[in-house]
């Protein structure tokens, strides 16, 4: 809670202004491609901000998911929109209206200004020191089975949130498939450079994912960062032209997608049947159980993210009426 020295102040002000400026540019620039690229830059600056705020776990997640995968998803979506629509979108700049209508258009801005003023006042009025739940977390970290407090919260203290959240991810993919996905894309041949890159990087990314998973016990890392890295490997493979075959989609794909959520449910059931509370681990087994849950979650998150990037509904043979 020290007051800032000059260098920090300059750094923080620059970062803060930069964030607001990039966000504004991303939302205001006339070309969509520009907006997306600026948005990815915004994500990277967010990651830097997380590091500045001592939240390295989030920084990793932001780089991998927030900037990386979201950026890839946005660019892929833009590429699939027809070329005509990628240029300046006409109604981002509406035609001129009468005075009354123009005055009415200012209404959101005025409203936003009021909301902003109220929020700023509320934030400034918060107590300057508040330990939140950090004391409780510290006191129970010893019996949580891991040493990284964030992993302890995610997989043990508030593991139930994570259980639901893994289902949100699965739900997004089920939702995409229920829309029928996208029509299959014609894949251009990858070319030698991309092919080599995919061949070299895929094992590296898998190794990296395993490292994140293992590192999450002690320091920054964990299932989400690892899963996102696996997802990135999946995206790279797709860019290099790899496509899931029908057999893969029918059995393997489903099995891996379900692995994470199913393990969570099994562990939950097990704890209930054993007469404990939901997801209550015995301290001596906590570490193993958390690693088990995280391994399943990593696989499922990775494949789900890759599947979301793929966008097409895989041909699994169930898509007929009988």
């Amino acid at each position: 809670m020290d007051t800032l020295n000059l260098a920090q102040w300059v750094f923080d002000s620059l970062t803060g202004t930069g964030l607001l400026w990039l966000a504004w540019m991303a939302l205001a620039s006339p070309q969509l491609i520009r907006a997306i690229v600026i948005f990815v830059a915004f994500g990277l600056l967010m990651a830097l901000t997380w590091v500045r705020l001592d939240a390295v776990d989030i920084a990793l997640a932001e780089v991998a998911i927030g900037a990386g995968l979201t950026g890839a998803l946005l660019l892929a979506a833009l590429a699939k929109l027809t070329a005509a629509q990628t240029e300046i979108s006409k109604s981002d700049h509406r035609p001129r209206d009468g005075r009354a209508v123009r005055a009415l258009r200012q209404l959101p801005a005025v409203l936003m200004f009021l909301v902003a003023a109220g929020l700023v006042y509320s934030v400034l009025s918060l107590p300057p020191v508040s330990s939140g739940l950090s004391v409780e977390v510290d006191a129970n970290l010893g019996t949580s089975g891991v040493e990284n407090p964030v992993t302890a919260v995610l997989l043990n203290f508030r593991g139930y949130d994570t259980l639901l959240e893994i289902f949100v991810l699965l739900l997004a993919l089920l939702g995409v498939w229920s829309l029928g996905g996208l029509p299959p894309q014609r894949v251009a041949p990858a070319g030698p450079v991309l092919h080599t890159l995919a061949v070299v990087l895929t094992p590296v990314l898998i190794l990296l994912a395993a490292y994140f998973l293992w590192a999450g016990v002690k320091g920054p890392g964990g299932a989400f960062q690892a899963g996102a890295t696996l997802g990135a490997a999946g995206v790279l493979l797709q860019l290099a032209g790899w496509r899931p075959g029908p057999g893969f989609a029918r059995v393997h794909w489903r099995l891996i997608l379900v692995a994470g959520p199913a393990l969570f449910i099994l562990v939950a059931l097990f704890t209930i049947v054993a007469g404990r509370h939901l997801l209550e681990y015995a301290p001596e087994h906590a570490g193993t159980l958390i690693l088990l849950l995280e391994s399943g979650a990593t696989l499922s998150i990775g494949l789900t993210l890759a599947g979301l990037f793929f966008g097409e509904r895989p041909d699994d043979g169930y898509d007929n009426d009988n």
Binding site: M1, V129, V153, T162
Partner: protein, 102 residues
Amino acid sequence: MTTETLYALVGVGLFILGLYALFVRANLLRKILAANVMSSGVFLVLVALARRTGTVAPDPVPHAMVITGIVVAVSVTAFALILMLRIAMKTGQTELPDTWSE
């Protein structure tokens, strides 16, 4: 002003910017970007204020909450993008019509 307040206020600013753009921008992809900026703002307020513990280590609970939030955000974004593409395929538009009808 402390670092915590500064970044928390930037977070408020991002929330408002995103909300405003979600209102006034018509293009669906832009609206999706706006929603992402909005959620980044909320996360920033959450994490910035978590440093007010008075000790070196920040409160880890908000960090876990934000990681949950980031995963939720990417799921929603992915779904929203496919929905947008389906609409573009169906209507040739990347905007929602002002009035809705059959």
